[in-house]
């Protein structure tokens, strides 16, 4: 009798243990930013972003190295790191947020789902609460999370003479996380 009870316990724990929450993870998500002023357009891309997404809790997080942003103009890249982002002092930027309507996303069915995400964005050592919209695309087992949003440079304590002239006050950030 005891043995049977134990076996049942054994089976149940095994069953419960293999729960349903799935964590999607990638180290090759991309984040680019685009600054556009009448004087100059500047775009840089970082394609070594680490990102994670939980299909149950809706937690979404990503982290990146500021030095990972690639510019076409290497000198500009250096100035970006040295003068604006101070990347030796603040080497990373990250976001930790929760997709509030994660339950509307059917991860088993192909489609594009609109989502809203609330969270904390940390850039240049300054953390700000943000609420943004984006999409989660389910496509043949692949999950693609996308969002395009504006960042006010001054909100994050990033200063410099050319902000507002050659560099836009608001830059557009594009986040694309492809989870296989």
């Amino acid at each position: 009798m005891k043995k049977i009870a134990l076996i049942i316990c054994f089976v149940i724990t095994a069953f419960v243990g293999s729960s349903q929450e799935k964590i999607y993870s990638t180290k090759a998500a991309t984040i680019s930013f685009f600054s556009s002023t009448p004087v100059e357009k500047i775009e840089a891309i970082n394609s070594q972003v680490t990102a994670k997404l939980s299909d149950k809790s809706g937690q979404l997080a990503f982290i990146l190295l500021i030095k990972g942003f690639k510019f076409d103009n290497a000198l500009m890249q250096e100035h970006f790191n040295e003068n604006y982002m101070e990347s030796s002092k603040f080497p990373k930027a990250d976001f930790k947020g929760i997709i509030s309507n994660i339950s509307t996303v059917n991860f088993a069915k192909d489609g594009i789902y609109a989502v809203t995400i609330d969270g904390n964005l940390t850039i240049h050592g300054v953390t700000k609460k943000i609420t943004q919209t984006g999409t989660i695309e389910v496509k043949g087992g692949k999950i693609i999370a996308k969002s395009i949003f504006k960042i006010k440079v001054k909100d994050f304590g990033i200063t410099g003479k050319y902000i507002g002239e050659k560099i836009a006050n608001e830059v557009e950030a594009t986040v694309v996380c492809t989870f296989d």
Binding site: K2, K3, L6, C9, F10, T13, A14, V16, G17, S18, S19, Q20, E21, K22, I23, K27, F34, S36, E40, K41, I42, E43, I45, T50, K52, L53, S54, K56, S57, Q59, A61, F62, I63, L65, K67, K70, F71, D72, N73, A74, L75, M76, Q77, E78, H79, N81, E82, N83, S88, K89, P91, K92, D94, K96, G160, K161, Y162, E165, K166
Partner: protein, 308 residues
């Protein structure tokens, strides 16, 4: 009793097994994905090489090359300009009536290999160089205390002379090692053991191989402005020449670096400033000069929306 223990251990192993080996977590609580990410990042940090950037603001300290490189597919047009001696006084408008100039086109074949061509007004000299970054200062997985660059340059003078000089006799070469360390965000130092070989020297007693050791540095005084200094000590030198000594400012003007300086050298190639400097600082034989450059991006990343 033993059976119970065995069973309980099995139960325990079972739980652990199902959680960890299957890579899945308990449903009763949500996984803290944020903590997970932090942990993962900490682990990868130790495996990443963090290269030190911006040891100097420009590819030149003042006259000499720095360990900074032109980025891949970037082309730099560089104008280096030195006025006359300040000691010329008001009559020469403190040197502004005279000028020595070098026009250069310099290109990044890769982030570690640069080539350049230049033409200087002094001696109507053409020059070409190859510059290769052997070591990059870094922390993290690879801890490299210095950056090391090898520079080879060749110079050819075309100034007409009374006695006919052969092509070979108009050639000079320079080999330099640039050893630099960025000690902090604000302070960088560079040592430059150099050999300049001049095929035809003015006097029979002069050596063809001229050895020197240069030292250069910068101190940043604000995000945008740095004070620079550069000195070359010659171990053997041409008759009538002195050591090159320069001080200046690097000023960043949005994507460009403007270098202003005072120097006793006239030329801007290794032969001319290391081994052919004749100005005496003590006598006011100082020139005001500047370097300006404009960077052109020859090849953009696919789909880039950048306008430069």
């Amino acid at each position: 009793m033993t059976k119970k223990i065995i069973a309980l251990s099995l139960l325990f192993i079972n739980t652990v097994f199902s959680k960890d080996l299957l890579g899945q977590k308990d449903t009763s609580k949500t996984v803290d994905l944020f903590a997970d990410l932090d942990k993962e990042v900490k682990a990868t940090d130790a495996n990443t090489v963090d290269y030190t950037g911006a040891t100097f603001k420009s590819t030149r300290v003042i006259n000499s090359h720095s360990v900074e490189m032109i980025g891949k597919n970037n082309l730099e047009y560089r104008i280096s300009h030195r006025f006359g001696y300040i000691s010329g006084g008001a009559y020469e408008l403190f040197g502004l009536d005279n000028a020595s100039m070098r026009n250069g086109l310099e290109y990044g074949i890769s982030n570690r290999l640069n080539v350049g061509l230049g033409r200087s007004s002094i001696d109507k000299e053409f020059d070409g160089y190859i510059k290769y970054k052997l070591l990059r200062q870094s922390t993290g997985k690879v801890n490299m205390p210095i950056s090391l660059v090898y520079l080879f340059s060749a110079m050819h003078t075309t100034l007409k002379s009374t006695e006919e000089l052969s092509f070979t006799n108009r050639m000079s070469y320079a080999h330099q090692l640039l050893i630099a360390r960025k000690f902090s965000d604000n302070f960088s130092l560079q040592l430059m053991p150099s050999l300049v070989h001049i095929n035809a020297v003015p006097l029979a007693k002069d050596d063809n191989n001229l050895y020197s050791l240069g030292i250069g540095g910068r101190i940043k005084i604000s995000k945008r402005v740095a004070i620079t200094g550069e000195y070359f000590h010659q171990f053997n030198q041409l008759t009538g020449t002195t050591n090159s000594l320069s001080f200046g400012f690097d000023i960043e003007t949005g994507g460009h670096v403007f270098q202003l300086h005072f120097t006793n050298s006239t030329g801007m190639t290794e032969r001319t400033f290391i081994t052919n400097t004749s100005g005496d600082w003590g006598a006011g034989d100082i020139r005001f000069g500047f370097n300006v450059s404009r960077m052109f991006v020859l090849k953009k990343a696919k789909g880039s929306r950048s306008s430069y």
